[in-house]
């Protein structure tokens, strides 16, 4: 049976990439959900560009403190050992190479790992936020996004047509259909959503995908 992953499941799959002890920044929107899916037995330190290190999961309604939000404006919960700092220091930490993994949303990713995640036609006033700093500063960039637009257009493209966030910065793409590694030799299809074949996914992808020798279904 063919199915597409929902946002929660994409976030869960992305969170599997967080090594024990990793410092992780979660971008605006869907990536924020990853805070709820840290793999059992691992400790992950979430950094937020509004000046916070070491927060916990998203806050339940009863405990929401709007002076303790992630970069997506969502209240989060405190953890022992956390700290607060200003935006200047937050970005020193980001550009200075102390973020092991950043998870970002995207409108488009190109076959060489270019990222476009902040502007789209007809919305000239949206901004890049901290995405450009995170894309050049983090050691590893994971993109979570839907594989195609609402109109069915591919988001994984030969060349980005939307305004760029950074060039050649993406390491891994996780969509509702696939897990794709951005390698020297191009895009490697590593995992597929349940019931989907490599050719079916290639059909919805403008850039060329090379199926991995160990291609498998996403295990959840």
């Amino acid at each position: 049976m063919k199915s597409r992953l929902d946002e929660q499941t994409i976030a869960l799959r992305a969170a599997r990439e967080f090594a024990d002890g990793a410092v992780v920044n979660l971008g605006y929107g869907m990536p924020g959900l990853c805070a709820n899916f840290i793999p059992e037995g691992r400790t992950v330190y979430f950094q937020s560009e509004n000046g916070m290190l070491g927060y916990g999961s998203l806050a339940a309604d009863a405990e929401k403190d709007y002076e303790m939000i992630n970069a997506s404006d969502q209240p989060v919960t405190p953890l022992p050992g956390m700290s607060f700092f200003d935006s200047g220091i937050a970005f020193d930490m980001i550009r200075g190479g102390h973020i092991d993994v950043v998870v970002l949303g995207a409108y488009q990713v190109s076959e060489n790992g270019d990222l476009a995640n902040w502007g789209r036609p007809g919305r000239g006033a949206t901004g890049m936020g901290g995405g450009m700093d995170l894309a050049v500063g983090a050691k590893r960039v994971i993109v979570t996004m839907l594989h195609t637009t609402k109109e069915g257009e591919p988001r994984i493209v030969k060349n980005c047509t939307y305004p760029l966030t950074a060039r050649q910065c993406v390491n891994l793409i996780i969509t509702d259909l696939a897990v794709i590694e951005v390698a020297e030799r191009g895009l490697i299809l590593k995992e597929t959503a349940p019931g989907w074949t490599a050719p079916e996914i290639q059909d919805l992808t403008e850039a060329k995908l090379t199926p991995d020798k160990d291609l498998k279904e996403i295990e959840l």
Binding site: I69, D86, G88, F91, R123, T126
Partner: protein
């Protein structure tokens, strides 16, 4: 004794903001850390042709309930009122919201200038201004529209963009507590852009939850030393 920095209310604290002034507005953009009382007072005061420097453009009262139940006033009101000539920030409008924020509407009508700056570059340009430096090189924005028209330099084999400092005539910021000298502490992520902006303005006006006597704040935990603070308003929200 030195100047009395305590103002009785937000209206008095912003009364001399002049037409054409450059205003930094603290916070991250949404409720926490935003100097809401000062913003509302500035909207009432009516100064025009402002240049506003803030991380986000504000979503406006209508959309704000999507961020916080019940909603709240933000600096969207300054755009709605037509008080702003130019916006400098990293998120003028949120892509995840409908295109109906006051700033986005104004922008689409061609009625406001806009300079979109990566968030880390924004923080550093403000800190650069605060620190009396002339500019810096960053990798954020290389190969993108942000690099357009800017000097670039290869440093240790990597490409960097030159960025200039930012200053303001007034900074409107939000802190948790001030002592009567003007030393400030913040609360959780409501710190964000407030401390850097406090350092970069000729006149820094702060709204706080509570004013405390001098000596009550831990000298090791003061985030903004009093030399950066010119006016204090205690304002509940």
């Amino acid at each position: 004794m030195a100047v009395n920095k305590l103002f009785p209310n937000a209206d008095k604290a912003v009364s001399d903001v002049f037409d054409g002034a450059t205003i930094m507005i603290g916070g991250f953009g949404s409720y926490g850390g935003l100097p809401i009382n000062l913003i509302v007072a500035l909207a009432k005061q009516g100064a025009n042709d402002l240049t506003v420097i803030a991380n986000m453009g504000g979503v406006g009262l209508e959309l704000s309930s999507r961020i916080k139940p019940g909603g709240y006033q933000d600096h969207g009101i300054l755009f709605k009122n037509g008080q702003v000539k130019k916006f400098i920030g990293s998120v003028p409008a949120l892509g995840g919201m409908p295109p109906t924020s006051p700033l986005e509407k104004l922008y689409n009508e061609g009625k406001v200038e806009m300079e979109t700056v990566p968030q880390g570059t924004l923080a550093e340009r403000i800190r650069c201004g605060a620190g009396g430096l002339g500019g810096f090189y960053t990798r954020a924005g290389v190969g993108t529209v942000v690099a357009k028209g800017k000097e670039t330099k290869i440093i240790n084999g990597k490409e960097y963009i030159f960025e200039l400092p930012l200053y303001a005539d007034f900074a409107l910021i939000k802190a948790h507590k001030a002592d009567t000298l003007g030393n400030l502490v913040y609360r959780k992520t409501a710190r964000c852009f407030n401390p850097v902006m406090a350092m970069a303005a000729k006149t820094t006006i702060v709204e706080v939850d509570e004013v405390v006597p001098v000596g009550q704040l831990d000298p090791e935990a003061i985030i903004t030393p009093h030399v950066y603070v010119h006016r204090i308003v205690e304002a509940r929200r």
